[in-house]
Symmetry: C2
């Protein structure tokens, strides 16, 4: 593959080239992996452009597609170029991806200043994570200003998305009464802004109440050094009526500007880069267990261990010997 | 070291030999590790005795030491030999161990049918876990009938203890009102029996109420195939007044007997052995990153990644190359 040519085209904002480049980073073939790394490095060198990376988490039913459609369109109307990527480790199972059905974002998908890419069908979260990070780098090289990285929040996917975002947004639906929606404390602690969607029609009052509940919950969290006053915060939006989007974007900009001025923006990116470097090294070491031969040996030794024929430690030593000589 | 001689003495129930054997499995020296594995294997072969392994979790303040003292003494009065081990990854930090202060179990520590061993001072949970599993095997070889494995529940230590126990007991203190004590759902789901301690004096009524709360909470959990009717269950005990201990032991026996008859006892041990085998293989692969040279390289590459001089993927590839040639 002509890495030079492809990188030139991506940097020149050729959408087809970008799509092809992302297909390359999605491949798990060994030769493709090496090419992908070279491509990402080349593009990083040619176009050290920096987008705002916004992680967006929301379970099915909160209106995430509608929000991305409205918010993405709003951003393009501000003259910004928007890319949408997804981290969905479950997409392999369901056979499709959350963004597979582009018709759910019909308007945005036809917008020349927007680029939507569904989650690749890989069940392994580590694989999806690496591919998404590389796709983010490619989109930055292709000059996008805002990159939305969405997730449905299956398993650890929220943590993965937060670890590659400059901002982490939690999208919620209005909830009856004062019940918080079973949002785990860990997720709350990752959120920079909570958006309570569907603040329209019959649900408007409920949305306002829900927002107040979450504002209260956020105030109980420990203050983080990377936040200016009043952050993290909760606010209402209506993706359907395109209401609150300007305000939401303003808040996101206030937060990123503050972090840039205080060194937290670059600091976070540096910490993330280091995290992913260590993560990749560990994953690669553990990947030795994923070859067919290794799996077979693990299964056989696992049986011996289960029947008590050999102790876990001795079996582990035998396995490690085998890996050493393979 | 004379592994044959040491194993003979351990099997002959020589307490000093057992203590020395545990010191050997606690060592992280490479030559000691190999000797320890040989010793455990030898003892397993010579004395395939099976104890009941009881995991016991309880945060400081619930009266865990008093409970172990009372319950351990009670068991010895039933003619049983009892070993007490601890999993406490925090003990390295605090400089001592939860069981370091044997004076807190003065009576039990002087009991010839009891053996108490504090948690080794290792901050690495994986290290503590392996040492404890091997110590369990040594205690079984030394003919102990019941092995209590206690933890204060720091980080993942409850999961570690549950993964090496036949029964998992959660010890709680009476709580005012109907507040559950912030016990995580995951911990509740691991518990076979919840014991609400301090059901004596002024706290008796509160303990009964707390017990009812937890009984209710346990009923809401999904039924597990490895449980007979009425399990998991909650009950009150008073370690101080030695009240409820007979009943608690009866319940533990009912549960283990049922599991033995239904194949779940051996099934659980088989699954645990397999789990630890896989865990040891993974830990050994990742241990390549713990040498001084590897740490230095990781730090240097981590800096390059943080400053943006190189991408996480390229840095990871360089690190893996380095490991291959070291």
């Amino acid at each position: 593959m002509d890495i030079q040519g492809l990188s030139d085209k991506v940097v020149a904002q050729d959408r087809r080239a970008l799509a092809r480049a992302i297909t390359l980073v999605e491949s798990s073939r060994e030769d493709h992996r090496a090419q992908a790394a070279a491509l990402v490095e080349e593009i990083r060198r040619k176009a050290p452009h920096q987008a705002v990376r916004i992680g967006l988490s929301g379970t099915p039913g909160v209106g995430k597609s509608t929000f991305i459609e409205s918010f993405g369109t709003f951003l393009t109307e501000q003259g910004l170029r928007v890319a949408v990527l997804a981290v969905d480790p479950s997409s392999a199972r369901s056979g499709g991806s959350i963004l597979g059905d582009k018709t759910r974002m019909e308007r945005l998908s036809r917008n020349p200043n927007a680029f939507i890419r569904p989650s690749p069908s890989q069940s392994h979260l580590g694989g999806v994570a690496r591919r998404t990070r590389e796709a983010v780098a490619l989109c930055e090289g292709a000059g996008f200003d805002v990159i939305l990285i969405e997730t449905v929040g299956v398993g650890q996917s929220e943590t993965v998305v937060a670890e590659m975002s400059d901002l982490f947004i939690l999208l919620l639906a209005p909830a009856g009464g004062d019940e918080l929606q079973g949002v785990k404390r860990g997720i709350m602690e990752m959120a920079d802004i909570i958006l309570v969607n569907k603040a329209d029609g019959d649900l408007k009052a409920t949305a306002t109440r829900t927002c107040a509940d979450y504002s209260g919950a956020l105030r109980l969290l420990r203050k983080r050094p990377q936040d200016p006053q009043d952050f993290p915060k909760a606010m209402t939006v209506s993706a359907l009526e395109e209401d609150g989007l300007t305000k939401a974007w303003e808040e996101m900009r206030t937060l990123t500007d503050w972090r840039r001025e205080n060194g937290h923006f670059e600091g976070r990116r540096a910490a993330q880069a280091r995290f992913w470097f260590e993560e990749e090294v560990k994953q690669a070491l553990l990947a030795q267990l994923q070859t067919a031969a290794a799996k077979g040996a693990m299964d056989q030794l696992g049986l011996d261990v289960a029947t008590g024929a050999v102790s876990p430690s001795v079996a582990a030593q035998r396995m490690l010997e085998q890996l050493k000589h393979s």
